[in-house]
């Protein structure tokens, strides 16, 4: 025989679990990849080659200032850059947010300073170069939306080349500061790029309009002498 104890029964039903995750709400202008519309955009997208190479190495940044290091690890793995020796921590032979820091990257910016301030666009490029990878920073203020769009689509379609964006989150309606993540796909009909956002605890991957993203890159970065943010093209 089972007795219901009112107090305990009350407790048992009290914690109504939320139906959705605790990521921050998205503005209507952005489309989550795991929404019905976001899935359709991927299926119909005109450029998506990098999505598959990046997606199988998609990772979550492990520190609030590590959007750069997380993006670097993803892209080095996607590019098949020769891997570091296996270790028993995060990576087991893949690049991760520990072994992405090397004596060479310390010369670019010491890890301790990255933990305090993250990476600028130019420092992001320097980190890739320190790993033996070609990297070309493009400050948005020096270019145009059309050139960015054309360059980004070509990079996404070329499996030897990858593109990362450095933008102000507030510029695309998110919370809120400077951020870095790779681009993975492009849909021509809606003129949107897919950002594989490495802050997975904060936002899902989103489809963002090219013009909105360009404007969010064309913002001054006080950590970089007021130069604008932008995008980085990397290739082996």
């Amino acid at each position: 025989m089972k007795f219901l104890i009112p107090g305990l029964f009350g407790l048992a039903v009290l914690p109504l679990t939320p139906a959705f995750s605790e990521t921050l709400p998205l503005p209507q202008s952005l489309i989550a990849l795991n929404s019905t519309e976001g899935q359709s955009l991927l299926m119909e997208s005109e450029a998506q080659a990098d999505y598959f190479d990046l997606g199988i190495h998609f990772t979550n940044q492990v520190h609030p200032a590590f959007c750069g290091p997380a993006s670097i690890a993803m892209v080095l793995n996607a590019m098949d850059v020769p891997r570091p020796a296996s270790q028993m921590t995060l990576g087991l032979g893949l690049f991760d947010q520990e072994n992405v820091f090397t004596p060479q990257t310390e010369e670019v910016k010491p890890r301790a300073r990255i933990e305090r301030a993250g990476l600028t666009l130019d420092e992001l490029g320097g980190m890739f170069v320190a790993h033996g990878v070609s990297a070309a920073p493009h400050h948005a203020e020096d270019g145009t939306l059309d050139v960015f769009r054309e360059t980004a689509i070509a990079s996404i379609e070329d499996e030897e080349s990858f593109i990362l964006v450095n933008y102000l989150r507030a510029g695309i309606g998110q919370e809120k500061g400077g951020h870095i993540s790779p681009l993975a796909a492009y849909d021509a009909e809606t003129d949107r790029f897919l950002i594989l956002d490495v802050s997975r605890y904060k936002y899902p991957p989103v489809w963002v309009e090219a013009a909105t993203l360009f404007d969010a890159m064309n913002t001054p970065d006080s950590d970089n002498d007021g130069r604008s943010r932008g995008y980085l093209l990397v290739s082996r």
Copy 2:
């Protein structure tokens, strides 16, 4: 003026970098997700709802015996199970391979023993139950390929339900022991399931024929009193 020092120049060109990653070679019977054929299978697949929810939380196991804990973290995140308190280690508010271990899961199997021996199918179910999630283990020896196929497709299409497989790698032509990972998609024309393999340092996600996978699940697990491996259905 620049002098070429023959010895150093020789050194600089010696390390011919491999064009591809150091994952193990796949048998011809398996199709990598990031191959041209693998990408097409995803685009044409009949069941793929779980792919998007799992893909945005795809992760790499951080310990050779943590295929189970890595799969659990992925699935709990994909299911939007209320998250643990934020921490400054791996997860930043998502489930990870640290906070997936709780006092309740210690009762199922202590972390120290999982590090030595991994998880059996039934222990995997117990770990989910310890997180407040319904879990139903199905030993392959108790069922049939047809029931597995039908059940797995329904679970993949139902975003409230997820399916994990526990199989002998050698049975699908891989190296080599027991393994656990979630299923993400199904292609009817080729009768193949997509395994989002959490050993990302070892193999890419692969499309495997349903019959091959079923046979690899229908193998005795000496850690589980000789009972066969199989699949686990989980839902909130």
